[in-house]
């Protein structure tokens, strides 16, 4: 039965992959002709009658027979640049061009490139597909009558969001800039943090329709080559319609396609990205997404916060434990409470049991249902608070807290202890952001299981989750490392955050070819001379 199922699944997989290869068109490139009108005709056909495509025809010589056309997409080019450095030189140098044509007609296009236009990046091409794709990217194309070549000028310029403060990952002491939607800005932000010549941005385009630029970022010699190769392979396999956000990429390249836990991290902070790259990870930047993906992403990273490295080591370690505790509480607390109430009332200290039993009197629903009801209400409130326009969010929380909390208790629908438990759970669930989503799922699962089998069921599910996690890998790296498989040196940055001078090697689980991060004996010491002086005096 097993085999049957998997066979069917595999056959289906093969079939679907065949379909994909068939749909892919295999056209030979089309080249430009010398006829300007013909070329424009083709371009008009391809680019359609879109209102934002501007085809500006002009005469560029005092001889009326030399026509030219400038093609660009309105809104994607820098208008100042276009007017000042492209249109103006072309149309004001009529005499110059005329003189040139008289002398040597064939290299008119080179002449324009070298002597007329005053812009930086110009390339020439004959491939009409390339012209189209570049124009769509925001380049400006110049076509000249009688020339089967076109000039592509990089005069991109559009409205963008500036670099703003981080919104999701709040920074207290660290840098406050965050990525924007523009790939180039983002690479600049990274380049400014790491000036190593080996920092590499390797770009490629993904998306049949969206043609999104994607850059894999890594430092040669620190990120293992095998990792880069693996990422490239996975990226190349993607055959998607569009990539609207980095999360699209994430879902396509994860190790386990139906993973419960995130195996690829994301951040909006350049400093975090830089730190991860320096640890030996790779990052992926996607044009149009203000989030960088980092990989491999290990379980322990969920509990590491960039601020840990800017704060005092002892405090950072304490906070890590608080996060761990919060995570555990957020998953187990409702389940434990339910199983204690329904299965193991002997576990309550006697006075607590008496008051809990007092609160339980006269409640209509079994305790599991009560817990599930409150959990669902919490999820509803959270979602409503997130999606509501900000001005309404306040109202939601008031309604939620007062009406649902207070009124449900006084109406005798839910016990007060349950409200306390769910509230504590809800707060704890916000401590570990990367696992907040999966936490909500596990919480529900644990509560349901607890309702059926008490603590025994919970521990069975827990064992299953643990074994699932132990089997999970993120780009080949075991998800639970450095704890399992155990790596003693790697533990410096897990449950405790060692001082920066002590973290002299990169995380061992990442297999970086260059393990040495800094020289090992940098413990700050009291200058000896001063103390000697003090002794002498």
């Amino acid at each position: 039965m097993f085999r049957l199922l998997s066979k069917k699944l595999r056959r289906w997989q093969i079939l679907s992959s065949k379909d994909q290869t068939q749909t892919k068109p295999d056209r030979s490139p089309v080249y430009l002709s010398k006829n300007l009108e013909g070329n424009l005709q083709i371009l008009r056909e391809v680019l359609g009658q879109s209102s934002d495509v501007i085809i500006r025809e002009m005469k560029i010589s005092s001889d009326s027979n030399v026509d030219a056309a400038v093609i660009y997409i309105d809104g994607m080019v820098d208008r100042n640049l276009l007017n000042r450095d492209i249109l103006q030189p072309l149309m004001f140098n009529l005499q110059l061009i005329k003189d040139h044509i008289r002398q040597n007609h064939s290299s008119l296009i080179d002449f324009i490139k070298s002597s007329v236009l005053t812009v930086g990046q110009i390339t020439g091409t004959e491939d009409i597909d390339r012209v189209i794709s570049d124009v769509l990217k925001g380049h400006t194309a110049i076509l000249v009558e009688g020339v089967n070549q076109t000039l592509l000028i990089d005069a991109k310029g559009w409205e963008t969001r500036g670099i703003e403060q981080t919104t999701n990952e709040v920074s207290i002491r660290g840098p406050k800039d965050s990525f924007t939607e523009t790939l180039r800005t983002n690479t600049t932000l990274l380049r400014r943090k790491i000036r190593d010549p080996r920092l590499t941005f390797q770009s490629l385009q993904i998306g049949e329709r969206s043609k999104t630029d994607v850059a894999v970022v890594y430092i040669k010699g620190i990120t293992p080559d095998s990792l880069i190769e693996e990422i490239n392979q996975r990226l190349k396999r993607i055959d998607a319609d569009a990539v609207l956000d980095s999360s699209y990429i994430e879902q396509f390249i994860e190790d386990n396609p139906i993973s419960l836990f995130p195996t690829i991290g994301y951040t909006e902070r350049p400093d975090v990205t830089a730190a991860k790259i320096l640890e030996g990870r790779a990052a992926i930047l996607v044009d149009g997404s203000p989030m960088a993906l980092t990989m491999p992403f290990l379980f322990i990273e969920g509990f590491q916060n960039p601020e840990d490295y800017y704060a005092h080591p002892f405090f950072a370690s304490l906070i890590r434990w608080v996060r761990l505790l919060g995570f555990i509480l957020s998953i187990y607390l409702p389940g434990v409470f339910v199983s204690l109430k329904a299965f193991h009332p002997e576990l309550f200290p006697t006075p607590l049991l008496v008051s809990v039993a007092g609160a339980r009197e006269g409640l209509p629903f079994p305790v599991v249902l009560e817990a599930l009801l409150m959990l669902m209400l919490f999820e509803v409130l959270r979602e409503a608070g997130l999606r509501m326009p900000r001005s309404l969010g306040q109202a939601v929380s008031i309604v939620g807290a007062l009406v649902i909390g207070q009124a449900a208790v006084s109406a005798g629908l839910v016990g007060a202890p349950m409200v306390i438990v769910i509230a504590a759970t809800a707060i704890a669930s916000f401590l570990v952001v990367p696992f907040a989503d999966i936490g909500a799922l596990l919480r529900l699962l644990m509560t349901i299981v607890a309702g059926f089998l008490g603590l025994f069921g919970m521990i069975i599910v827990q064992l299953e989750i643990l074994s699932y996690l132990a089997g999970l890998r993120s780009l080949g790296v075991p998800y639970l490392s450095p704890v399992a498989p155990l790596n003693i040196r790697g533990l410096k940055d897990t449950f405790l955050r060692a001082p920066l001078w002590a973290m002299d090697s990169r995380p061992a689980s990442l297999n970086s070819p260059d393990m040495r991060r800094q020289s090992p004996d940098q413990m700050p010491q009291v200058p000896k001379t001063e103390s000697n002086q003090g002794g002498n005096q």
């Binding site: 603590l455 069975i460 064992l463 074994s467 639970l480 155990l486």
Partner: protein, 366 residues
Amino acid sequence: MFLEQGKISNLQLSVLITGFVLGSSVIIPPGQGAGHDAWIAVALGLMEGLLIAWIFTALARQFEYKTIIEINSLVYGKILGKCISVLFIWYLFHLGALVLDNYARFFKLEIYPNTPKTVLFLLLMLVCASTVGRGIEVLARCSVILVPLTILLIPVDTLLLIPHIDLNDLMPILDVPSEKLLWASQGAASFPFAETVAFLMVLAFIDKPEKGPSAVSRGLLIAGFFLIMAVARNAAVLGPMAVITNYPSYLMAQVIDIGDILTRFEVVVGITLITMGFIKISILFYGTVLGLAQVFNLSSYRPIILPVGILMVILALTNVGNTLELFEFAYKSYPIYAVPFQIGIPLVTLIVAKLRRLPQTGGDQV
């Protein structure tokens, strides 16, 4: 070797062995026949267990860490070798069913009196099956997290019980007749220490073979230390009750009471002990399915996990009628029943291999 690509480190092997040994022995402490001298019986049993471990690691080393199934085929030839392998696999399978039964009975008696045992069996079995399906590597990784956490319970319990400990209960030392003590220590050796013979299926996958024997004995010693601590503490806290109660560790957890606050968590203790059982059952289960796959030349052991698991559950359901029978088997018959598997097969195989000078040919065939 193609059945399992994973490798486990020697540390993981030690931890696995520790978890395996403490497996069901934390709920049914060994050496009860010796009364309050049980800890001496356990210590003697540990010695014997180390000796047996030495035998089977020597055997594994002789054959450059193949599994016992492959070794048997090399030593005794195809047919006889496979017969002996099947016997060995039966032992693993039966022991797995016993451990499963142990745990299910414990939970049914103490915590879930109305829940059908089948449900407890199936749930335990499923979680073990899914882990075994993920391979020995995953099991080893789980053990590295689970075993230290649950082992901590023993010293923590002991600390919390200090107000109740009466060392007089351990006196006089060597109170039982020596034949009784020896019998109890043979019992302690056969359950749980020498049961590590099951690792003949796992030793093949360690990454530093030259340090295999020390990893095995380290695991045994750590487990032995904590087991002796637990057994001695049981006797010191419960006095004569330690001998007549079925699950002294559980009764003892009920006694814990620090200022009316740290109290009443015996269910937590009991349920946490499941993790050790999980490791023990998984190892035995893994040995069984891997062994079967090797005997029958299957290309993967995964398809037979569920059938074998269900068979194990059926055996566990039917093999004893009540807890008394289980205890009688564990304390009276098992110390003899286990000898051929724990000592017989490894020792005879080792001797035959030495006589036939098999290491050289074995080395060539690799």
